[in-house]
Amino acid sequence: MDLSSINPVLLLASLMVAATPVLLAALGELVVERAGVLNLGVEGMMITGAICGFIIAVETGSPVVGFFCAALGGAVLSLLFALLTQFALANQVASGLALTLFGLGLSALLGQSYVGIKPPQTDSLNIPLLSDIPVLGPILFSHDWMVYFGLGLTAAVWAMLKYTRAGLVLRAVGENHDAAHALGYKVVRVRIMAILFGGACAGLGGAYISLVRVPQWTEGMTAGAGWIALALVVFASWKAGRVLLGAYLFGGITVLQLNLQAAGVDIPVEYLSMSPYLITIVVLVIMSADRSRAPASLGRPFHASS
């Protein structure tokens, strides 16, 4: 056992990278669920974003354009879900699962000629002065811009839900869509916009995996990250701050356990392997003891006639 081979600075830096895909996808799903819609298609939208972003980044040579198109790709796919559930009033669980399967298949088809290609590199920001600070510099100030985007988005979602009129309307729609409708809010329109936002965020999260974290395209490469994002939203009691905490905890312990394994720590590998899931759930469940609950209209279909 040789703990000295673990560099805590590099560890904390990789934590932020490992957490970003799940964080982005979970934030999107948080907004969707706060609007009262359960979209289980996160995995499908992520993988679609991963391939859309990858193709566009490779073709244009610009990761920024790639990320933009990844968001677009995820949103377009989620539009399918919006049509099914908001207009055709299809079952949300079934539609979401179908979206995941469709996304996995579609991405495999789109990505056939992109296996083994290297994407253009997403530059680190390396903020002058700040990134030169010892210890804090490499941990906080020398990441690619998507990491900061994830943090900014968390703050934006939190502030939007808590302080703005738009956030209030969104929450009203999610809590009681009949009352919101009676007050004259466009329930279906709000929900569609939330679904599109969720799709775009999932797309960004997927593209972060294919453009930064791995970086390459492989079929099925999100490998369940979308499901983790979904679980995170529930365990985080539909609160943006806790989603951030959960994502960083999960990403952090994932990276930490790999480091402990490589350093040969005398803890059975099985325990290390399950620790990210276990610890994240335990921490978030303890925190959710404060009577947080799901949006009351979550998963219920709405039609103005009812």
Partner: protein, 357 residues
């Protein structure tokens, strides 16, 4: 992903009606653990499937299901395939072992072939490749090439197949570099590019400049490509797209001849239970081209080692070798028997970590 498999099974079941007319064809089914586009393990099995299609043309129809999780879920996928009229089913991952035997018991007229397993039945054969022969060559190159004397190894599951590979690579790295140290990460997955990339990054951060992998995707090579002076190896497939980068050679699984021969046996009615374990010599294990990043003398010696293994002059597990706890395993000049190798659950002397159980 269980629901994913369920939906796929339903899709397969609905396909039943449309394909029933082709009953005179021999139907060959494949159960894959990852997507056919993983660029590694499943990709090569699918190449074998395509070779069967090409070789037999209209005589044979092949069907497959990809990304079938190991464990109880696999049984349903196999049952669906058997109900669909498959005459021969290849189940291509170690974790399908119990399910293969259980489903085979229910369909005595369907032949099953289980990859990398060790349990047979009247209608279940097992087949595997002696990947440890290729691992020996990799270990040799790793030992010669490492500057930091730290070799990172991304392992999947603690099964004999994987342990054998670690031992074989370590023995041959140690022979040429007594200071070499192996750092091993168990990913507990065959396919998860993000996790594999994280594992590779972790190993590199902890000083490894050679990465060996026993997981199926090209992600570790992509992670290694981001850093200078780190080399890696293609796993299961050539992974030639990283030739200009970290990949210096690769172990290639060539299943095609075996799949063609076994399909022929079913057509002839000569199929019987067998236990196949082929290595470099018959061509089931191939080594990818060694790139110029490897110095000429290392390359020549690595090729000589490969040839010695191929013509039977050298066995990668030749004594004197001790087990990790220091107890004697093989005496001077003694070679390991297949039974011990097939069930290998111990590290050789010198490896510092312990195998998860």
């Amino acid at each position: 992903m269980k629901l994913g498999a369920l939906f796929a099974s339903i899709a397969l079941a609905t396909g039943l009606a449309t394909t029933a007319f082709a009953a005179d064809k021999t139907k060959v089914g494949f159960i894959f653990v990852g997507p056919v586009g993983d660029g590694g393990w499943t990709y090569e099995h699918n190449q074998g499937r395509l070779a069967v299609e090409e070789h037999f043309g209209d005589q044979v129809e092949t069907i497959f299901q990809e990304s079938v999780p190991e464990g109880p879920d696999a049984a349903r996928a196999m049952t669906q395939m058997a109900l669909q009229g498959a005459d021969l089913i290849f189940t291509t991952s170690f974790g399908y072992m119990e399910q293969t035997l259980a489903v085979a018991g229910k369909f005595p007229n369907v032949k099953f072939e289980h990859a990398t397993g060790y349990k047979t039945a009247p209608n279940v054969s097992v087949y595997s490749a002696r990947f440890y022969e290729g691992r020996a060559v990799q270990g040799y190159i790793a030992g010669r090439m490492t500057k930091t004397n730290v070799v990172g190894y991304i392992a999947s599951f603690p099964i004999p197949e994987v342990v054998r590979g670690i031992n074989s690579a370590y023995i041959h790295a140690k022979q040429v570099n007594p200071d070499v140290q192996f750092k091993i990460i168990w990913a507990y997955t065959w396919f998860d590019p993000a996790k594999e990339a994280d594992a590779a990054k972790t190993l590199i951060e902890q000083g490894a400049d050679v990465i060996l992998q026993h997981t199926d995707s090209t992600a570790p090579l992509a992670a290694a490509a981001k850093v200078k002076n780190v080399i890696g190896f293609g796993q299961a497939s050539d992974m030639a797209e990283y030739k200009d980068g970290p990949r210096v050679t690769s172990i290639i699984d060539n299943w095609a001849p075996y799949y063609v021969a076994r399909t022929q046996a079913v057509i002839d009615g000569s199929w019987s239970t067998t236990n196949t374990w082929d290595g470099i010599a018959p061509g089931m294990v191939e080594m990818g081209e060694i790139t110029d990043r490897v110095p000429a003398d290392v390359k020549a010696a690595a090729l000589a080692l490969k040839d010695a293994i191929a013509d039977g002059n050298y066995h990668p597990f030749t004594g004197p070798l001790n087990k990790q706890d220091g107890s004697a395993w093989l005496a001077e000049g003694e070679t390991a028997d297949d039974g011990t190798l097939a069930g290998m659950n111990f590290y050789v002397e010198g490896l510092t970590e312990s195998i998860p159980n």
